[in-house]
Amino acid sequence: MSAAERPDRVDFLDKVTGRAAFISDLDVPGMVHGKVLRSTMPHARITGIDIDAALSMPGVIGIVTGSDLGGIDPIWGVSLKDRPLIAIDRVRYVGEPVAVVVAETEALAEEALDAVMVDYDPLPYVTEAAEALAPNAPLIHDGVQPLKDFYFKGEAKPVAGTNIFQTYAYETGDVDAAFASADRVFEDSFDFPMVYHYAMEPHCGIASFGDDGLTVWSCGQAPTAVQKVLSRIFDLPIARVRVITPLIGGGFGGKASVKIDPLVATVAWKIGRPVRICFSASESMLTARRLSATVNLKTAVSADGMLQAKSVEVLMNGGAYADTGPAVAIKAAIRAIGPYKIPNLRLRSTAVYTNTVPGAAFRSIGGPQGVWATESQMDIIADALGIDPVELRYRNMLKRGEHVRPDLTPIDVDMAEAMGLASQAMSRLDAQEPHRRIVHGTALGIADPANSPVAGVLLRLKIDGSIAVISSSIEVGQGIREVLCRVAAEQLGQPVAAVSALTPDTAIAPFDWGTGASRSSLMMALAIEDAAADIKAQIGDIAASTLGLDPARIELVAGGFTADDKRYSFADLLHPYFGIDSGELIGIGRISPRSRGGALAKAPLFWETAAGRCGITLDEDTGEIAVKRYVSVADIGRAINRTGAEGQDEGAAIMGLGHALFEELIYADGQPVNGTMIDYHVPTIDDVPAQFETVLIENGGGPGPGGMRGMGEGAILPIAPAIANALATGFGIRVKQLPLTPERVWRALQDKKDR
């Protein structure tokens, strides 16, 4: 295929033609199928599991329960060691795996599920965070062990004898004095619901034990974390656990850290054959969700609108198992600060266990929760002081190079520029339909990605000039393979069509922390930069020793290099060097906190930012909001694949639109009541604003090649508060709870009438 025919992304043709193979398409020789029987109780002792009838059903090979875990470590976690591989004597939420039926086919396994009889002795349960904090609340765990630096850097701080699994506190300045002397103090409480990731591909995995150890085909976003957790469970050397990650159909954090691989591998271990387990969408809804939050803000302001002190108090509902909730709780508090100069700052965060689906990372962990609160309150303050909300933001805005918090790296973008561009773009959209009455709202968001600067890449330059990029970055729909190809092509001066990005496989790919936290494009670009330098050095050495050329005069060109006006192919170099007309050069790029003179160790490595401005209409009779226009602005430093980057930004904004208007996992009597894709509405193309513009600023200034930053998680931050702010501006109602359902908005309108 010629360069002109090459699609925008290396994975597009396979995906649009249906050739692309996802895990559920794979068939491992000897493979059998598992189906999960799930708890119907929010909290209960398991008093008995009768598997006899199911075992005798056609095609059933075996059934795995919590009594089958002898010889392996049955408890795992990534922040706290709190989670059984499969329920052991006790269930902690509706949907928790209680038994896995394994059969020759998926259909036969499913047929036998109903025949497994589980007896429960119900225990008192809690589904709300506030209930879980009550002095007489049932304890959901008897004691859990924090795992220091296990996945994220740091350690959770649970409180023994309570349901609290994380506490976080930070303070700078004299907050109490600032509150005592302030002209005005604003106190508001905001609620953010549990929401589901809804990746189009539910969780799935295949595991196989053999003489060479354990191999899993995993949908996990962090293959090396999966590898490490499995090595601990089965007491296998890490090098004997192989994690292969084919194309994945979306993750958004729902497949981050470690999710279903321990269960899949345990079943394969017990059954003694390769086992495939693929969840349905409803099962995935019972696997992970965003942590719900109540965020209490207290903000001191001078009469002219200058922020003087802010206290952020976050309470998060983390579900039955902590997962990465401890990190989410910290980030929610930090991401509630905003891009503003606040001299006195107090952050407090608490995350608790409840008898609900485990909370987990989700696109900008803690970000939408914190930004929803802060950016709503900025408009409350502006309204009370009679200052235009955009003006209030300008007055308090941090300039590039100023500190969000003294101990964090200064903000590295110009947020005033981003907000200005959002207003300009909206004015252009308004001018296209000037007669229509539209109400506008603005919000900003900033987040400090946990970039974990530990990454690596191999570049293999073949004698014919083709290049393979080997990394652990998974293609989850975000377009990383195209980014890998483009950066490698650029760094080695080769056409992008010469480059392939291989399927991640921990057996050959260098260690990488994982795909998430807006880090892969950036970390891999840095690693590729180093790996390409390694290859160039090798070419120079070989050219000097074999061809007698001066390395300083070598310049890479398509298919080879030039030196002293003479053109050489890579074969011209490697054939005489190896003696045969075959071979390759391998470049290694390794990123650590010590790389680039320690510059990559600073936290955050860059700020991920977004400005959003919406234009809405409201049907005041029904309370239904229509978002007619939306502008999303982000300074990403430099785009590697512009259409891909715009797609990421648009996707994040529309995902945020779902959080704003529709999405909420609802519990009643300990049961999730809308846990299907029929009852839980995610945005469809009909919900996308008719006028929708993404403005990506390429000002450089980021830590990657050409000044690039990571991106893809920013635009989810401002859209919900922007819409709520428009509601307040246009209709005089302040709704502090998401989602902004028609009934909730209508009720706020009624309350206003009654006042």
């Binding site: 109903d114 239904e624 009934e743």
Partner: protein
Amino acid sequence: MRLAPFQLHRPTELHAALALRAQFGDDSAYYAGGTELLLALKARVLRYEHLIDLKRIVGFDRLARDGNDLVIGPLVTHLRLATDPLIRESLPAYARLSDNVGNIRVRASGTLAGNLCFSEPHADPPALLCLLGASVTVHGPNGERSVPMAEFILGPFTTARADDEILTAIRIPLPTAGEQFCYRSFGHLEYPAVGVAAAYQSQAGAPRYRVWIGCIGDNPIHAEPVEAALAGVPPQALSDVLPQAAEAMAAELPATDDIYGSADYKRHLAAVFIGRAVLESAGMPGGR
């Protein structure tokens, strides 16, 4: 979950289908579009050893005018009803309703007959069909009978059709000249929380309005008090009478709190959409 195993039968004429049902009894069920049945089978809420597929029965895809009636066969999908010129011209309000059912996949395979037999209380069609004076024809072992639409839906997931009967036709009398219809529904989930069907007929100096309310109760509700209050009111004067009549009616509706909304909100929605549907049927602004 996936479907439990079953045997599929594909008769090509009505009596063969009835015979299969007689042979297998309650272990069998009729099946057409499958948009409701297959979901229930996958969720294992229902289970049958035998499915009797009606899709090959000759003539069941009929959509035609028969005298003063429109006749809709049991295989006619929502998509056909939304796009067929006969419906678009003679009953544009019904074509619009059909165009708004579920999503394109549901419309393309789901049939109106199946929708009615399933009797999901939040379905759109029943209220408008009641308003239009439709009737359904069912065939059973003892022959054929006709049931007025208003008597067909007995409650959630319950109809006047016996399990061994096949709904063979929906008959809608063609509207008389000068009668205009409108159907409006609203909800923030997959199914509507409330739907209102309204008709306006201008008879020499005596305008007549008819209103049915769907989705909010167990079956469509005939809003006779609204009709009485509006009788004879010219469209231009509706604003003097309609809001009060709509609110009085809505206050009496049997709404309950559920995921579609709280009872008071749904009653309010009913009042709003009674107003909008009536105004739109009468060609007045404000119907939005």
